[in-house]
């Protein structure tokens, strides 16, 4: 590669990396915790949720009795859909959509989050309980900003892919050598460079996967809108070509009692060997095109892509649409592959379900956060030189303070919100409450550390706070709900156990780092710093 091209790629890497850095950090940080979203939810609830991989047959629920019971409660089901995630247990939650019938009453067009007792089929309201896990989940694609946030996260992923490939290009020739270089005693920039290169190299496959799948999710709209060019701009037709027709028109009202739903559940259970339905949908109830849909999986150890789906037309009594998990076509297999990889949802290693894999993902994601921050620090240090004008240097320094303040205060704020989530009464757990606690606190902390204008201070005290608060998390959990870490383990409440362990692990690392941290030897005047770097003549100049 010519010298010019090398420098061009180098500059592209720097610019694309710096532009997305904070956004990407937030995505990876929140995403790392999102891997445990369900566990966080259960941890907050403190309810025993068996993480059994046992199959719950579709027939475990009497659907006809459920719809009867809803009608008895005064719900008009025409044009509404009912969604159940099979959980087993005494209480089964479900979601009832609003009626799509334009003539339906105001009350019938409202959606509802309900639950029923699996023996008496008594319907109850499911109180809204917002989980901090959902906040982190939404934050990892900036969905607090709605659609624009979603597209923004896709754009960040795209530029991440760009930064990743340019990074690979500039390091390619020396990648093996750089990987083994570790000079912790050298000057700051060298340390950041070594860490950035080595950890970046380890993370490449992981990061490439996330950059690509992230762009596919966030910017998938570009595929649909550009593809619609072949259909006179009709995006629906494009998706129909790709995924098959979906009839969204609501049929005429039919007499519900003339059609039974339970036989379809029975048919689902026997459709394919070892198929376990997970999501049941009763769609467009009481209409001519009423459907019974089941989506589920084979054992994840059996095959990587293990999802299957069948949709029955209830009135005609035939199969409308099906995805046989044993015979998946190429086109059908792409999105399941993407979601398996993106959600760390495969392999089923060890006794804790997919949590072993999620833990590995978590570490790789945290490592990526480190690569992002060290990249910013290299950028800062590389410009902290005598030949850079004073004004520009001050500006860079300020940018560095803000970046670090925003990024590093995220961890203590997350730890604090976990504690808050455990301490508040159930009724307080709303989206607004969590948003104001987390984002408000994050803003305050960021401003505080930014005003301090001292990266050492920011680093030390965010770590210390994270360590202390993180240690408190299992304690608070034990005191509030009685799920002490050992008891949760012995009771097989692995999801509660795993969150406590995760925080103990994080807090230990934070505190250990604080303990090992050395105060920088005062503020080295710029001249002496120059001299020193000349004295410790570098053996290897990475660029």
């Amino acid at each position: 590669m010519s010298k010019r091209n090398y420098n061009v790629f180098f500059h592209l890497h720097t610019v694309s990396g710096i532009v997305i850095s904070v956004g990407l950090y937030i995505i990876f940080f929140a995403g790392a915790f999102t891997l445990f979203e369900k566990a966080i939810h259960h941890w907050e609830e403190g309810e025993a949720h068996a993480t059994t991989t046992e199959t719950i047959p579709a027939t475990s629920i009497d659907y006809d009795r459920l719809t009867d019971s809803l009608q008895a409660k005064g719900y008009d089901l025409y044009g509404r859909s009912l969604y159940i995630t099979l959980e087993g247990g005494e209480k089964q939650a479900f979601f009832l959509s609003g009626s799509t019938d334009s003539l339906a009453s105001e009350a019938d067009r409202k959606e509802a989050q309900l639950s029923f007792n699996t023996t008496t089929y008594e319907i109850a309201d499911q109180p809204e309980r917002y989980s901090f896990g959902s906040l982190l989940y939404l934050l990892h694609f900036f969905y607090q900003l709605d659609r624009p946030g979603y597209y923004l996260s896709g754009a960040v992923a795209l530029f991440f892919l760009f930064a990743l490939i340019t990074g690979l290009v500039i390091h390619w020739k020396k990648i093996v050598l750089s990987f083994y270089v570790f000079r912790p005693g050298a000057k700051l920039k060298t340390i950041w460079t070594d860490a950035h290169t080595a950890l970046g190299t380890i993370g490449i496959p992981f990061q490439f996967m996330y950059a690509l799948t992230g762009a596919m999710f966030g910017l998938g709209v570009l595929v649909g809108t550009s593809g619609s060019v072949l259909y006179e701009g009709d995006t629906e037709k494009f998706y129909a070509e790709l995924y098959g027709e979906h009839n969204n028109v609501l049929g005429e009202r039919v007499e519900a009692s003339a059609y039974r739903l339970n036989p379809y559940a029975d048919s689902v259970d026997h459709r394919w060997a070892d198929f376990a339905p997970k999501y049941i949908g009763l769609l467009k109830l009481e209409s001519e095109n009423m459907q019974f849909r089941a989506y589920g999986y084979l054992d994840s150890k059996a095959q990587f892509l293990n999802n299957g789906e069948v949709v029955y037309d209830v009135v005609l009594g035939k199969v409308n649409h099906e995805h046989n998990p044993y015979e998946m076509s190429y086109a059908e297999s792409i999105w399941p592959t993407v979601s398996r990889l993106h959600y760390a949802d495969y392999g089923n290693l060890g006794t804790l379900g997919d949590y072993t894999l999620k833990f590995i993902y978590f570490i790789l994601a945290v490592m990526t956060c480190f690569v992002i921050i060290s990249g910013v620090l290299i950028w800062l240090e590389a410009r902290n030189k005598r030949n850079v004008p004073e004004k520009e240097r001050r500006y860079n320094e300020r940018v560095g303070h803000i970046y670090l303040a925003i990024c590093l205060s995220m961890l203590p704020m997350t730890a604090l919100t976990f504690i808050v989530a455990k301490l508040i009464p159930v009724g307080w757990a709303t989206e607004t409450f969590f948003n104001s606690v987390f984002f408000g606190g994050w803003l305050l902390l960021s401003v505080f550390f930014w005003r301090k204008q001292d990266n050492y201070f920011t680093n030390r005290y965010t770590l210390l706070a994270s360590g202390a608060l993180g240690m408190l998390i299992p304690l608070v959990n034990g005191l509030v709900s009685g799920h002490w870490i050992w008891r949760a383990f012995l009771n097989h409440q692995y999801e509660i156990f795993i969150i406590d362990v995760l925080w103990l692990f994080l807090a230990t690392i934070c505190l250990f780092t604080v303990y090992r941290m050395k105060k920088p030897t005062a503020k080295v005047p710029i001249q002496t710093r120059r001299k020193r770097s000349v004295a410790t003549k570098e053996v290897f100049q990475p660029s």
Binding site: N7, V8, L12, L158, G220, V223, G227, E241
Partner: protein, 98 residues
């Protein structure tokens, strides 16, 4: 360590030309290429399925080219003509099927 500025583009207009060719031009070429394939080849479903990820990979590859060229407008000329070429192909295919 920062990249040596003597190799980088200084002119604002050139920078704009390169950045726009990279992001917008790259997208147009990548998208029109895939759609031309879909328009002419029989297996449309599988091409669309591939398109859902290869759009980003091809686009990514095309993002680098303007920066390697001396003149950003030359790249726009290339990208513009290629897009036009694929668009004509799409148009011909579409109008022949109707």
């Amino acid at each position: 360590m920062p990249a040596n500025p003597k190799y980088l583009t200084a002119s604002k207009r050139q920078r704009f030309a390169k950045a726009s060719a990279s992001i917008l031009g790259g997208f147009l070429v990548a998208a029109s290429f895939h759609l031309a394939l879909a328009a002419w080849l029989p297996d449309r479903k599988n091409i669309f399925a591939t398109y859902s990820f290869s759009l980003f990979l091809v686009w990514m590859g095309l993002m680098f080219i303007p920066y390697l060229m001396k003149n950003g407008w030359t790249c726009w000329l290339w990208y513009g003509s290629i897009t036009l070429f694929f668009s004509v192909i799409i148009y011909l295919a579409e109008s022949s099927t109707i």
